[in-house]
Symmetry: C2
Subunit: 342 residues, 2 copies
DNA sequence: CTGAAAGCGCTTACAG
DNA sequence: CTGAAAGCGCTTACAG
């Protein structure tokens, strides 16, 4: 049974087989496969015919070993599957990267690297010559390995690296602080004076930058910056941070929430307590993901061009792999999208 | 600048280097790396020391070429990134697979194979010796390639294959028809008589099987089976299917919806039109994903053990790769979870 | 328990 | 424009 099953597995034809089928040398077949223009047209045709006839596909391992290229790129996301799938931000990033790679010969290998168990496996994967380059998204301060990775293969980060010494790395980001300040100033313009924030985890740079933007806007207006609660970018954490804020300050009249998903959680708590949005408490989110239009009321939020960020990461890595000059920092613009929550 | 950057890229040490550092042959280093017990303990230590000192990681391409194994498994999902990320079902599946592979040496390579552009790339990827086996989830009837894939590498499907001739393939599934019948019978027990269904796309077997279950329950009760509308498992499609049903039958009093996500869309339409759930129209979903508890009212739904399905797929593929006997069909149980929508 | 040697399936100067 | 030959970094019988 098993034997029978495996017997049906046909061995893949090799370059050698194509060569003898086409009556040429292996070198020539290799040239045709790799699109060399230095081969006589009729020979090209003969070889292609043999390739089609035998259903030949080059063996990647042999090719990698000989050419020292894998034609594969790793996308590293140091997050649990639940969060990765739960946040539309990642969907947009992946879509952008996929699109950016579409016209290239590179394939994308997604590695969900939960920060504990698989990290060694991931490390070996990256260092073992499995990929030519990597894109690292959503990295936390506790994973230092990624910053050294750049010494072995080209890496593009999504989001400004956490450690200052990593500033020599390539990254694509938005100006998180400016975006957060924009949101907070909008709330100030609306006459709000007791403005809190639900921030992301302190081990992520984007979260810290957004908090900074909120602080600077409030400080500029001579207002206190005591009302900060931390979440981890999930809906549930946004809800509990909202409860925390409400308990600490009954006169709260606005909140800048560092992600749309957390804002969803916050809104549900507000409704639960019978507090009207935006009348009693105004809310501004961050991301402008699909989540922003699925709430009631819909979210006023800071738009970040997530798909474009993915696209840019792919382009920059491709350029790096091609040996081209690439700007180390790509900072994309944010803008405020006004809907109903503020 | 670029030159300087690349100059810092250090070449990875080879087996050869480790061998000479440890004063042994390459064969011996290879044995130690691969955990052979036939090496003298002190030699093992010396080799491991050299490995640690040089920071040696075996080159995967060379290893694959020599051993004819890649130690990688592909997860193929023929869906756009938007749908893949939008449906919690996939998150659970991936989580299960990841967990199932955790204790193995295999790494998972996720390939989002949009059915148009990248399919050729995916095909070459799978045939080019990049992976030792594959898991295919959410395959549609128009992608015939995957069924032939099994002739080259072991494949485990998530969901019963569409074409009858593919029944020799390995797959993990639930009894979709039985689950759907269960849901429909529950609605009948509640006294509902004008029961429609929002089905999935006709090119997916799971969708067809769920429709069949709905048909059999209604037929068994002597009721008509005309009220069927098709969606594509997305929330938006559930909403428009619900509108369609309502327009066709004002006396509709219940709907079996083939996925929780589509049920979310359906509920929003019902609320929009001021139709109360479950009083005027009862709704039963399918999946029991996190979406089921995020609606108001929460969904009564058919639970399918998505994470366990992923786990089982991984286990079965691993067994196949180890040359072990594996049952071709793994059918996992469903059960009805009663909440508030019916 | 260990090493020398062949081989995995490609690419790539080097000749011609 | 084409082929013979070396080499990419491993594994694996085969001797010893």
């Amino acid at each position: 049974m098993i034997a029978a099953h495996q017997a049906t597995r046909r061995a893949a034809p090799t370059l050698e087989a194509v060569a003898s089928a086409a009556g040429v040398s292996r070198s020539t077949v290799s040239r045709v496969v790799n699109g060399s223009t230095q081969v006589r047209p009729d020979v090209v045709d003969a070889v292609n015919a043999a390739i089609a006839r035998l259903d030949y596909v080059p063996n990647r391992a042999a090719r990698s070993l000989a050419s020292r290229q894998t034609m594969a790129i790793a996308l590293i996301v140091p997050e649990e599957a639940a969060r990765f799938f739960g946040d539309p931000f990642f969907a947009a990033i992946v879509q952008g990267i996929t699109r950016g790679l579409e016209s290239s010969d590179y394939v994308l290998n997604l590695q969900l690297a939960s920060r504990t168990s698989t990290s060694l496996k991931t490390k070996k994967y990256l260092l073992g010559g499995n990929v030519d380059g990597a894109i690292v998204v959503s990295h936390h301060s506790d994973v230092e390995f990624f910053s050294e990775l750049d010494a072995t293969i080209p890496v593009v980060f999504g989001g400004r690296p956490f450690h200052p010494e990593q500033h020599s790395n390539y990254f694509v980001d938005v100006d998180n602080a400016a975006g957060a300040a924009l949101a907070t100033e909008y709330l100030l313009d609306k006459g709000r004076r007791r403005i809190g924030t639900i921030s992301g985890p302190v081990d992520m740079q984007a979260a810290n930058d957004r908090s900074k933007g909120w602080v600077s806007a409030l400080t500029g207006a001579g207002l206190p910056t005591d009302l900060i609660a931390h979440g981890d970018f999930t809906m549930a954490s946004g809800a509990s941070a909202m409860r925390d804020l409400l308990d600490r300050e009954p006169n709260l009249d606005a909140v800048f929430v560092a992600s749309d998903l957390m804002a969803m959680g916050a809104i549900s708590v507000l409704r639960e307590r019978g507090i009207s949005v935006p009348d009693q408490v105004s809310l501004v989110g961050f991301d402008d993901s699909p989540a922003a239009t699925s709430t009631d009321p819909q979210l006023t939020t800071v738009h970040q061009p997530s798909t474009e960020m993915g696209l840019r990461m792919a382009h920059n890595l491709l350029a790096l792999l091609a040996g081209e000059e690439v700007e180390r920092q790509s900072i994309l613009p944010t803008r405020l999208v006004v809907r109903d929550s503020a």
